[in-house]
Symmetry: C2
Subunit: 417 residues, 2 copies
C-alpha cells in the first residue's frame, strides 16, 4: 500500500487524556482512534494487525476441533436469570438497554449462557459429544474507570471457546490441550518468552483456574514466577499451602507485574444444568455435561504486544502480526531515477506476495525515518542515492542492524540477519 | 467436514413463532439459531456462508480503493448531538444504555458520525482527499415488530462505506463507480438477474437516492420495473413528473414486491460541516467535504438469497457462497467397501482444495437425501452400490439433473452440466 493513499497519518502527540503507552503509540501511529474512554476504533493499520492475531487464534482453535460461530451482542434476560447472572448485584458491570416493544436486554459481557442454550438444542446423545464451539465477538463491560488503553476497555473483541464434555476426565484432557494451544498462540504473536501459565483462583468445580500472564510493568496483576518450571502463581492464591501443593519453593520465585492475556477455567456442570443441557449416555440414562471456558481478548493481546515490545522510538511488531512485512522508504528528493528504482521494487515485491507499505510521500528523510520507527514494521528497505538496481539497504527494526542486500534477497525475504 | 462432527443438526420443524421462510429454512438446516425476536446467531454453516458473502463485498470495496476499518458499537452522544440525530424524537429506533460512571451511550444504528469525526482528525489538505472508508459492523435498530427473519433484525451486520470527496463532481463520479461495484456484488452472490437499480427518495442534497431491490414476494417494498432498461422506481417516488424525468413509460413498467438489498445515497456536506470536517484547497482556503454513504446488510443479503432461490425441498445455494462446494453422501449401509470408496474420495477431494461436507452418518438414505436437499449445496455426490473406483453419481441441486462422472471430473470440479 502506498502510504500517501492511507487516510491516517502519524501524530507527534497522543491525546492528553490517554495515559497508557500502548494506546499512545497506537494513536500516534494512526493504528486506532479513541472514540471515548475505554472505547477504541481500529483504523486500517490496526485492523490489519488485529486480523493477523485473530487468524493465528482461529488456526489454533480449529486445530483443537473448534467450530466457529457468531453469537449476538443483545442478550435475552431469561437465559441469564436461569444462571443467576442477570441481577446487577451479582454482575456489577452489565450494560443494559430497553426494547421499544417492552422489556430489558443486556449487552454481551461474555457468552456462556447463549452458547450453552444453543448447544442444548442440538445435543441429545453421548454420540453428539464432546463438542467445542468458539467465536470472536464484542464484549461490553461497564467499567467505572479505564486507564489501560486497549488492554481493558468498555468494548472489546474476545475469542471465547466453550467445551462440552461427557465427563470430568474428558474435560481434563481437553483443558490440557487448550493450554498447549494457548502457549502456541502467545509464542506465535511474539510473547512466548515472557508469558507464563499461572495458577489463579478456581471456583466450585476446580481448585484453580489458569491464566496466561505476560510480564509487563504496565500490568495490573502480580505474579510469582518459577522461571525454571515456567509456571507462576497469581498473588491472589499465593499461600504456603498452594506452594506446597504445586511443589514450588518460595525462595526461587520471582515477583513481577503482569498482564492477563488469556484465561482458561473449568465450569463443571453449573451452566449446563441451569440451561437444560444434558445427554443420554450409552444406557439411555440422563447424564451431565461438563463445561470449560477459554478466553483471549484480541485487542488486549494487540495492546500487550505494543506495550512490552516497543522502544523509545515506537512500536516493534513481530513479523507474524506486523501490518506489512516491510516498510519501503524512498529518499528520492525529486530524483526521478531513484523514484523509478523504488517504484519498480514496490511492484516486484507485491508481485511475489511480500506485503509492502511504501512511503513515497514528498517528505524529509528525517520525518520518514521517524514515522517508520513509530509504525514499527519488522524491516525497512531504504531506496536512496546509494541504491543500485541490485543493491539496497535493509534495516531490522528490533535492533537497528543494517545490511546491504540484493534484489533477490528482498524478493525471497531472505535477508541473512 | 464430516457431518457427524458438526454440532448442529437439521430439524423437521422451525420454531412456531418464526413466520419468515428464510429464517425457517436456515433454522431447520442448523445455519442459524434464533436468540429472540429479531436477533439471530450464526452457527458453523451459517458463518461459512456469511464469510463468503462478506469476502465478495470486501473484494469489491477494496477494488474501489476502500480502506477497511472497524468502528465501535458504543456511541458517544456528543457526535450525534452535533448532527441532531441523538434525540429519540429525531431517530425513533435507538437502543441506548447508561455508563456506570455517569452519562448515556448509544448502540450504533449506523456510523456516519463516528467515521466522519475520525476522518476529520486525519484530513487537512486537498492532497488528503478523496478517501473511501468502510467497515463491517453490527447495527442495532430498536424495531417495534420483527417478522422478516434475518432480513430485518434488531441486530445485524452491515457493510457501510463512506466517501469523502472534494466536490460534487468528484462525489458523482465515485457514486457511479459504487453503483457498478454493487451490481457486481449482487451478480456474484447469485441475485443479478432479479436485482434492479431503483430510484428512491433523496434528501436535501440530491433528488434521488438509489436502492438495489431484489424481486421477491416476501419483500416489504413495491417497485415498478422497466425490464429493458433494467432500472426501477420505488413506489414512494412514483409520480408522473419522476417518470418523465427518467424517460420511463408507465405502460411498460412491471409492478413487483421487492427486498432492498443495498442502498447508496449522497449526503452532501451536512455531516462533514456538523462535525468539523473540511480541507484547505490549493489556494489554502477552507473548502467543504462532499460525502456519500453506501450500505449492504450482510445478513439480509444472505436471507434474501435463501428466500428467493429456495424451493419446496429447501435451500439452493449459488456456488459462490455455498458453505461447501459439494455434499458427499455415502450410502454404505454397513458395506465396508462402499464406505472405503467414500472415505477415499473425501480425502482426495479435500487434498485438491474442494470444500466437502461429508455425510458419513449411520442414517437411512431417505433421511440423508432430505437433509442434503434442505442444506442446499450446489452439488451432491452419491457413493453407493452403483459407484466404482472411477464412476460416481453427481446431482445438481438447482434442477435435480444427474450425471455419472469420473473421479477426475470430481477432482477438477468439471462435471459437464
Amino acid at each position: 500500500m502506498k502510504q500517501s493513499h492511507l487516510f491516517t497519518k502519524t501524530r507527534k502527540d497522543a491525546p492528553k487524556d490517554e495515559v497508557s503507552e500502548n494506546a499512545q503509540l497506537l494513536i500516534r501511529g494512526g493504528y486506532i482512534h479513541k472514540e471515548m474512554a475505554g472505547v477504541y476504533d481500529l483504523l486500517p493499520l490496526g485492523l490489519r494487525v488485529f486480523k493477523k492475531i485473530e487468524n493465528i487464534i482461529r488456526e489454533e482453535m480449529n486445530a483443537l476441533g473448534g467450530q466457529e460461530v457468531s453469537f449476538s451482542v443483545l442478550q435475552n434476560p431469561e437465559l441469564w436469570k436461569a444462571t443467576d447472572r442477570w441481577d446487577d448485584k451479582k454482575i456489577d458491570n452489565w450494560f443494559k438497554t430497553e426494547l421499544k416493544s417492552g422489556g430489558e436486554l443486556g449487552l454481551s459481557f461474555t457468552h456462556e449462557e447463549p452458547i450453552t442454550k444453543a448447544v442444548a438444542m442440538q445435543v441429545s446423545s453421548y454420540r453428539d459429544l464432546p463438542r467445542y464451539v468458539y467465536h470472536f465477538q464484542s464484549k461490553f463491560r461497564n467499567e467505572l474507570r479505564t486507564k489501560s488503553g486497549i488492554m481493558r476497555g468498555r468494548e472489546f473483541v474476545m475469542k471465547d471457546l466453550y467445551s462440552f464434555c461427557r465427563s470430568e476426565e474428558e474435560l481434563d484432557a481437553f483443558y490440557k490441550e487448550v493450554g498447549i494451544a494457548y502457549e502456541n498462540i502467545f509464542r506465535r504473536v511474539g510473547l512466548g518468552d515472557i508469558t507464563y501459565l499461572t495458577f489463579a483462583s478456581g471456583g466450585v468445580f476446580s481448585k484453580f483456574s489458569h491464566e496466561f500472564q505476560t510480564v509487563s510493568t504496565a500490568g495490573e496483576d502480580t505474579i510469582y514466577i518459577d522461571t525454571e518450571k515456567r509456571i507462576a502463581v497469581n498473588d491472589e492464591v499465593m499461600t504456603e499451602e498452594v506452594l506446597e501443593e504445586l511443589s514450588l519453593d518460595r525462595n526461587k520465585l520471582v515477583e513481577a507485574k503482569s498482564i492477563e492475556v488469556g484465561n482458561i477455567f473449568k465450569l463443571g456442570t453449573k451452566y449446563a444444568d441451569a440451561l437444560g443441557l444434558k445427554y443420554k449416555d450409552k444406557d439411555g440414562k440422563d447424564a451431565e455435561v461438563h463445561m470449560g471456558s477459554y478466553g483471549i481478548g484480541v485487542g488486549r493481546l494487540l495492546g500487550t504486544v505494543v506495550e512490552v515490545l516497543c522502544d523509545e522510538k515506537g512500536i516493534v511488531w513481530p513479523a507474524s502480526i506486523a501490518p506489512f512485512d516491510v516498510h519501503l522508504v524512498e529518499l528520492s528528493q525529486g530524483d526521478e531515477k531513484i523514484r523509478g528504482l523504488a517504484d519498480s521494487l514496490y511492484e516486484e515485491l507485491q508481485a511475489v506476495g511480500v506485503e509492502v507499505l511504501y512511503d513515497e510521500r514528498d517528505t524529509r528523510a528525517g520525518e520518514k525515518f521517524a514515522d517508520s520507527d513509530l509504525l514499527g514494521m519488522p524491516y525497512r528497505i531504504v531506496v536512496g542515492r546509494q541504491s543500485t538496481e541490485d543493491s539496497f539497504e535493509i534495516v531490522r527494526r528490533v535492533d537497528g542492524l543494517k545490511k546491504t542486500v540484493s534484489k533477490r534477497a528482498l524478493l525471497t525475504q531472505n535477508y541473512g540477519f
